[in-house]
């Protein structure tokens, strides 16, 4: 079976050619031919690849949503064994088909993802039939644990993302039901933010390390970027919340803020000096701006001097975003200069 290699990733960026077209007297036909010859505009093979990808992923997505809707309804007429056997056979068929097609092919990977989703449906149906009283934490965590071998075998980023979503959801739901939540809510909140963030960081580290070794996947940055965006959203919560409440009362909050600063510093260092990624750097700056805006909201007394304070706030936001965009463009130019120097 042919190994799955996304062809889209290897296609060049179009921006530089458009830049040339706008600056040089390049005729439209000349530009169009250049775009075609450089396969910036897709050829037949790339179009077919896209067509396959769309049909297979939309098809599996629709089928799985159909299965979930089917079992979400509590079918009284259907015997419980019929229900179990239907889903279990679905899991088996998709898993065996994935093995048949080979887990290195796109179809195999999608079939394995389908098997992973159906496993969750099976667990949910089990809980529904026997009224086990198990918490949603149990459902999500056992689902994540059960599909883990498939995740490792498939080496498929969407399946990794599904697993991480399950782990994150499991920890968040655990935090709301644990007895710790009543006795020491700050501790429970800290753990709820810290555990998934740490797991996400470990996965991110592994992903980035392997991308240096295995070059083709280094081009597919969406997984790392999604993970970093989510990480920053979760970790920015404590400093923003503390700033709005003007209250850093517990040692846990201090710890989380320090952790946030550490992650921010590491990400900045990583994006600036190791992996030049302007989008991640933008996310870091956006997070800093969000925290600074919430601190400013508390520092300025809008109730007493609204006109001046609204004006100050407006000027400050404009200043922060201007500074951030200037920094981003300067960084981009600096990276370009480094590359130019390396070529020279």
């Amino acid at each position: 079976m042919e190994k799955y290699r996304p062809a889209i990733q290897q296609r060049p960026d179009t921006s530089w050619l458009y830049l040339l077209a706008s600056q040089l007297p390049l005729a439209p036909q000349q530009l169009e031919t250049a775009l075609q010859k450089l396969t910036v505009i897709p050829n037949k093979a790339i179009w077919l690849h896209w067509l396959n990808l769309l049909l297979l992923s939309v098809g599996s997505g629709l089928f799985l949503s159909g299965v979930m809707f089917f079992f979400a309804y509590n079918w009284e007429e259907m015997h419980r064994f019929t229900r179990f056997s239907l889903i279990a056979s679905g899991v088996m068929i998709t898993a065996i088909s994935a093995w048949w097609y080979g887990v290195n092919t796109l179809i195999g990977k999608l079939l394995l993802t389908a098997a992973a989703v159906l496993t969750g449906v099976l667990l949910a149906t089990f809980g529904m039939v026997y009224q086990t009283g198990a918490d949603s934490f149990m459902l999500f965590s056992s689902w994540a644990i059960l599909i883990l071998p498939w995740v490792f075998v498939s080496r498929f980023q969407p399946l990794w993302l599904l697993t991480l979503i399950l782990i994150n959801t499991a920890v968040f739901t655990w935090a709301s039901i644990t007895p710790l939540n009543w006795h020491a809510p700050d501790q429970a909140e800290t753990l709820a933010l810290l555990i998934p963030s740490s797991i996400n960081i470990i996965v991110l580290l592994l992903r980035e390390l392997t991308s240096f070794i295995h070059q083709p996947i280094a081009n597919a940055r969406w997984f790392s970027r999604t993970l970093i965006f989510w990480l920053l959203c979760v970790l920015s919560y404590t400093p923003i919340h503390s700033a709005i409440e003007t209250n850093i009362s517990t040692v846990y909050q201090v710890f989380l803020i320090l952790f946030y600063i550490f992650v921010l510093a590491s990400l900045t260092y990583y994006t600036l000096f190791i992996r030049h990624d302007l989008l991640i750097f933008t996310c870091v700056l956006l997070s800093i701006i969000a925290v600074l805006i919430s601190i400013l909201t508390q520092l300025l007394d809008f109730g007493r001097e609204p006109v001046i304070n609204f004006m100050l706030m407006g000027l400050a936001i404009a200043g922060m975003t201007a500074l951030a965009s200037q920094l981003l463009l300067r960084t981009a130019r600096k990276w370009e200069a480094i590359t130019q120097k390396a070529i020279a």
Partner: protein, 375 residues
């Protein structure tokens, strides 16, 4: 990042293929050296600037609200015109020397000015048409003279919204909706499929924001149409034209245009079985999803994005597609059992089609490889 070396290689390959001359290539190298990040600002930096400007503008509107100016429409119009003049005059006379802070502040001031004009005329004087005409004129002015791309994007949006308001005749609501969808869809196809013509023209700085604004207007417009689907069905007695059916026909024509263009570019005959089956599939899709214009719009944007290899259009279209597909199944007037069966059946059908297409691709690849080995 090794963009420079890659670009130099690509330029060399264009010279060897006689697409550009050696002189043009040398000139291009110089241009690339000087302009790489000066001219091309990534979309997320534009987004950051846009978000910042909008937030600042909200704060400035708050200033006017607390100054009690918002109570008087005339004062508000004067304030709005003053702010717009400040933004425009500044951008005209200090374009080169302007710092990024001034530029960001002017962006925010301009948005505030636009908002004040809209609030004063549209809400306080209760004259939507005059508000739309004024905003249209201001947008044209800013589109022509204000240099920032983010602002041009905003101006095109305002221009389109003003036109939609002006064309909105309650007596002929259905024909107006159809006309608007027709114009926006055709313009989108035209501007993206013949992109090279616009990009290499003198007015290339205006066309990029227009292209993106047209795409977002199409997606948002059809999304709104989907939301009001039930209300429109309720008003069916007032509507004389079958809106959804006509819109589906418009989309089918645009799909056919797009497919024909692609086939022609790939030097494939439109009379072949595979080409005809493509037309047939789009026709079936238009018939199945005729009640959801947003789904058809998302699909059209996705195809345009793939055809132009645009890294903003493709993810945007995928998000829109997921959203509209979810909405479509949610709004289907069927029982949960029938809905789930329909979902499963359509899923299996698409997956099977994907598998057949995958096998065909593999067979073609193997054939090509054999031919290559033989040669």
């Amino acid at each position: 990042m090794k963009t420079s070396s890659i670009n130099t290689e690509r330029l060399a390959s264009l010279v060897t293929r006689h697409i550009i001359s050696r002189e043009e290539s040398d000139k291009a190298k110089e241009l690339l050296k000087a302009n790489t990040y000066k001219q091309h600002t990534p979309w997320f930096v534009h987004a950051l600037q846009g978000i910042g400007a909008w937030l600042s503008a909200l704060m400035f509107i708050g200033v006017f609200a607390f100054m009690r100016i918002l109570d008087d429409a005339t004062e508000l119009i004067v304030a709005g015109v003053t702010l717009l003049s400040i933004a425009l005059i500044n951008t005209l006379y200090t374009e080169r020397s302007k710092s990024s802070y001034t530029s960001q502040l002017l962006f925010a001031i301009s948005i505030t000015g636009h908002a004040l004009i809209a609030i004063s005329i549209g809400v306080m004087l209760n004259n939507v048409y005059i508000a739309a005409i004024s905003l249209m004129l201001i947008s044209i002015l800013f589109l022509l003279f204000y240099q920032q791309s983010g602002h041009k994007f905003l101006s095109v949006h305002l221009l389109l919204i003003s036109l939609l308001i002006l064309a909105n005749d309650q007596k002929a609501l259905d024909s107006m909706i159809i006309l608007q969808i027709l114009i926006i869809t055709v313009l989108n196809c035209r501007m993206w499929l013949y992109e090279s013509r616009y990009i290499s023209s003198r007015y290339h700085t205006i066309f990029r924001p227009i292209q993106y604004a047209l795409i977002s207007t199409l997606l948002i417009g059809t999304g709104i149409l989907d939301q009001f689907h039930h209300e429109l069905s309720y008003q069916e007695s007032k509507l004389t034209l079958p809106i959804h059916e006509i819109i589906a026909i418009i989309f089918f024509c645009c799909f056919a245009w797009l497919i024909h263009h692609i086939l022609q570019r790939l030097e494939q005959s439109w009379k072949s079985i595979s080409s005809l089956s493509l037309f047939a599939i789009t026709l079936i899709l238009c018939i199945i999803f005729y009640q959801s214009p947003s789904l058809l719009a998302a699909l059209l944007v996705l195809l345009l994005g793939i055809e132009r290899n645009n890294r903003i259009l493709i993810p945007l279209a995928i998000i829109a597609l997921i959203y509209s597909l979810g909405g479509y199944y949610y709004n289907l007037e069927l029982t949960l059992l029938h809905k789930s069966l329909l979902l499963m059946a359509s899923g299996i059908l698409l997956f099977a089609m994907g598998m057949i297409s995958h096998r065909y691709t593999q067979k073609n690849n193997n054939k090509g490889k054999q031919h290559y080995d033989h040669a």
